[in-house]
């Protein structure tokens, strides 16, 4: 019994060391990212005074762009999404909606609303995809094309859209997202202004739940009513304004939201397109683009703009949240596991040296460390192996630090777009920045841990997230 007790104490001691190391490494990196993001926000805000999007709109050299919307059973939201793209301010815009084997009325709705007529076009399969059934096209401007194909998943649908696309750049857009009128100009600005090495451009995605929407536009920005949605608003702020803005400035962007991003078509095709076997196809492609660039010793920039480009729906129920987070964690693990050899290799720049190790050790494995911590600590108390006087301050520190980072993200939002106009919204966001650590964070951790287990269990299936459309107003839709 004594030997067992001593062994358990040794194990607990090692676990404590691991936890403290994980805590300081993870939060240290997040703090650096926050400081970098604050600097980035300061510059972004002042740059807006002289960076004129008219230059992009009016220049004859601005490349045309194809927006690809993959959709499967999205009849509830597809019309608003297509309208938002048709109302976007961009010269030379084309739109391809890829119907990935919908069994509801998605395709019929599009055909009816946008007066699409069947056309016969050659299907070029530069990237392998499931069978394409046919095309319908509208006569208006920008040209809307509906591509109908057998169900193969989001990555497969995107690849079909890329095969059809003829423009040097394409923009992926989720079927439940609304884009800002100048979003495409903003995303293309770094591409137009740089001498040609930008392969991906992305921006800040915000939560659409609760906002007033009509004619494909977010007319009035409001915080969602449900707590679970409000908590996700804070999460989105932290991911985009703190995480991605920071990594962008450090040159280590590894995660681009699949909801909306602009890609250089040839670079994506050279890399083999989206991986239909991956659940996190967007991240997997980004890592592959880094890999290709490193292999060919080419410079490939991935840029991120702090400006809001798109409004996405977040899950409104715990069940849907669970599905989404399990899928994200599974996708993350698949992507980093497939490319772990890039870690700590200077050839791949900041992505290989810093980002990938961070995503492997902090974002992927961190879920396990944190979850096991929540299990081990009560057990240690129960068996009198751990001291309450040590764990309580550690737990307090972790909660305080997490709140600090979320508040930092809210501050960055105040420095940039500040979309929530009411003063009380600021206090609501600060309040939820603190409250998310009591229950919500643990719930998300549980889902992430499930995702991790599914990865080790070899799961590959895509969990569908259904959204409820309960915007305050949807007139004109």
């Amino acid at each position: 019994m004594g030997a067992w007790h001593e062994l358990a104490q040794h194990a607990l001691y090692l676990f404590n060391l691991l936890t403290i190391l994980y805590f300081f490494a993870g939060n240290g990196i997040y703090t650096v990212l926050m400081l970098v993001s604050i600097g980035s926000a300061l510059v972004y805000n002042r740059r807006r005074a002289y960076e004129d999007l008219r230059e992009i709109r009016e220049a004859p050299s601005t490349p045309p762009l194809t927006v690809i919307i993959p959709c499967c059973n999205e009849e509830a939201s597809i019309l608003e999404t297509v309208r938002s793209v048709l109302g976007a301010d961009y010269p030379g815009l084309r739109l391809v909606v890829v119907d990935d084997g919908s069994t509801d009325g998605t395709a019929d709705l599009l055909i009816e609303q946008f007066h699409l007529t069947p056309v016969k076009l050659i299907t070029r399969s530069a990237l392998p995809t499931r069978n394409v059934f046919g095309y319908c096209q509208g006569a208006g401007s920008p040209v809307v094309t509906l591509l109908r194909k057998a169900h193969g998943g989001k990555a497969d649908a995107l690849n079909a859209g890329i095969n059809f696309c003829r423009t040097p750049y394409f923009c992926t857009l989720d079927a439940d997202c609304l884009i800002e009128p100048d979003a495409l100009l903003r995303l293309m600005a770094p591409i137009v202004r740089s001498p040609g090495e930008v392969v991906v451009s992305s921006g800040t995605i915000r939560v659409r739940n609760g906002c007033e929407v009509s004619n494909g536009r977010v007319q009035r920005v409001l915080l969602p009513r449900r707590r679970i949605e409000r908590l996700q608003v804070v999460e989105y702020l932290r991911w985009f304004l703190l995480g991605r803005a920071g990594w962008d400035l450090l040159g280590g962007t590894l995660l681009v939201s699949g909801a909306m991003a602009v890609f250089h078509r040839q670079s994506v095709m050279d890399a083999g397109g989206f991986d239909a076997r991956s659940v996190g196809e967007d991240m997997e492609l980004i890592i592959r683009l880094h890999h290709e660039a490193g292999r060919k010793r080419k410079r490939a920039r991935l840029t991120f703009t702090l400006g809001t480009v798109c409004w996405a729906q977040c899950p409104s129920s715990v069940e849907m949240l669970g599905r989404q987070r399990r899928r994200w964690q599974l996708g993350l693990c698949q992507a980093v596991a497939a490319h772990w050899k890039m870690s700590f290799r200077p050839r791949y720049g900041a992505a290989g040296l810093f980002s990938l190790p961070f995503y492997i050790f902090v974002e992927s494995a961190g879920a396990a460390v944190e979850f096991i911590g929540y299990v081990v600590v009560p057990l240690a108390f129960a068996t009198h192996l751990a001291l309450l006087s040590f764990y309580i301050p550690l737990v307090v520190l972790s909660l305080v630090y997490a709140s600090f980072l979320s508040i930092g993200a809210v501050l960055i939002e105040e420095m940039t777009d500040r979309p929530y106009p009411a003063a009380r919204d600021l206090f609501t966001l600060i309040k939820w920045s603190v409250l998310e650590n009591f229950g919500f964070r643990q719930l998300v951790l549980y889902f992430r841990f499930q995702g991790l287990l599914r990865f080790f269990g070899g799961a590959r299936q895509w969990e569908t997230v259904a959204h409820t459309t309960d915007e305050p107003a949807s007139g004109g839709s």
């Binding site: 740059r47 009016e58 004859p60 016969k120 307090v396 600090f404 809210v410 501050l411």
Partner: protein, 415 residues
């Protein structure tokens, strides 16, 4: 195994306390920013109305202008008032009263500050002789502002700013030079173009930025580009041709895209012939684009020669140019391109003929029956269908089946 030390616990508690204090500071910052933004918004509204009054008073030639200026001056005491600057620029952009706006900026001393901010050189300051210069954000903003109010006196400073160490300032200066639209700007832009022998261009100016700047210049100014067409570097010749062929928008891109096929000024035919025989295939391809809009009748023979070019994309551009020019024998020439080894040339040729009227449709039909090239037939079928001639396609399919057997139908690749 060492026990967990009390010092560690104390350290954790101290860290927690520090983080709580910093978090509270961040909250205070956020609240301060929110109130500052509200204050900024109120001041902006006030200045917009005051600037509008001053603009109206100036245009009405009433005596109220000085009074309006006095009210404006009374509302800003600091050396720099961002709300006033923003309100002034907003009003100038929305009303188009550039001259009046410039006068107000001049009278209020704002213009002088912008000029100083743009042209300021690093200077020795104080006994420690350290360099002090406005930051790149200020320099870029000043460049943008002087262009917005068309301050021609800043032109020289803007050309100097093209050599600024920061790319943002370079880009803003380039855009400002183009917007000022001074006759001597073309010479500066041509100089930038000539300097781009190897990527990147000077500093961080991209090809697209340079092309966008040229798009603001009047067509007549593009004569400055012609000497660059004989440069030894293929990249310069290609870029020069692209810029030469691009339209100059009078009122934005919509018009420019609509008038894309409008020739700007004519290139001498001898020079056009020279660039059509350029060793660089990219240049020859761009030459085909220019030949499409050239008013010289001899351009057609040159285009005919380009249809036999060794580079597929030169042939592609030539096919499009022949179709755009509607050369008298063009349909016959393009018919020969339907069996081109490269699919994009075939596709382009098929589309060109499908839009050529009855002669083009007849030639497509004839080629469909006669050719053994399944890919060419495939593309003919697609071209006919997308151009709304599916009726002729049905007829053609039947004819083809009877002429060439079962395998002459539309190839399975067509969806």
């Amino acid at each position: 195994m060492p026990p967990l030390r009390t010092e560690l616990i104390e350290l954790i508690l101290v860290c927690s306390f520090v983080i709580v204090v910093v978090s509270l500071l961040l909250v205070a910052c956020a609240v301060w920013l929110r109130f500052k933004a509200a204050h900024h918004s109120d001041r902006l509204k006030l200045f917009r109305s005051l600037v509008t009054q001053a603009l109206t008073a100036q245009s009405d030639a009433r005596n109220g202008y000085q009074a309006a200026l006095a009210v404006l001056r009374a509302n800003f005491a600091r050396r720099r008032c961002p709300e006033l600057e923003q309100a002034l620029l907003d009003c100038v952009r929305s009303t188009g009263a550039v001259d009046a706006g410039r006068r107000i900026a001049d009278d209020l001393g704002v213009l002088e500050r912008w000029r100083q901010g743009l042209g300021a050189q690093p200077r020795m300051n104080g006994r420690f002789r350290f360099h002090r210069r406005p930051g790149f954000l200020t320099r870029a903003r000043c460049a943008s502002n002087v262009a917005a109010i068309r301050d021609r006196a800043s032109w020289k400073s803007l050309t100097t700013a093209l050599d600024d160490p920061h790319p943002d300032v370079q880009r803003a200066a380039l855009r400002a030079i183009a917007e000022l639209n001074e006759p001597q700007s073309a010479h500066v832009l041509a100089g930038l173009l000539a300097a781009c022998s190897a990527p990147p261009l000077r500093g961080a100016i991209s090809e697209r930025s340079l092309r966008a700047a040229w798009a603001h210049m009047p067509s007549a100014q593009r004569v400055q580009i012609l000497p660059l067409l004989t440069q030894s570097t293929g990249r310069i010749r290609r870029l020069a041709l692209e810029i030469y062929a691009q339209p100059s928008p009078p009122n934005g891109a919509a018009e420019s895209r609509a008038s894309r096929r409008t020739p700007s000024i004519e290139i001498p035919h001898s020079l056009l012939n020279e660039i059509a025989a350029d060793p660089d295939a990219e240049v020859r391809a761009r030459a085909a684009d220019l030949l499409a809009i050239s008013a010289d009748g001899r351009a057609e023979e040159t285009l005919r020669a380009l249809l036999d070019d060794s580079a597929w994309f030169v042939r592609l551009h030539a096919v499009r140019a022949v179709a755009a020019r509607r050369c008298p024998n063009g349909a016959e020439w393009i018919e020969g391109m339907i069996t081109d080894p490269h699919w994009r040339v075939r596709e382009s040729a098929a589309h060109a003929l499908s839009g050529w009227g009855s002669e083009g449709l007849d030639r497509l039909s004839a080629t469909f029956q006669s050719t053994a090239d399944a890919y060419a037939r495939d593309q003919i079928a697609e071209a006919l269908e997308t151009s709304g001639h599916s009726a002729s396609l049905n007829g053609v399919s039947v004819e083809a089946q009877s002429a060439n057997g079962a395998n002459a139908g539309i190839v399975p690749k067509t969806s």
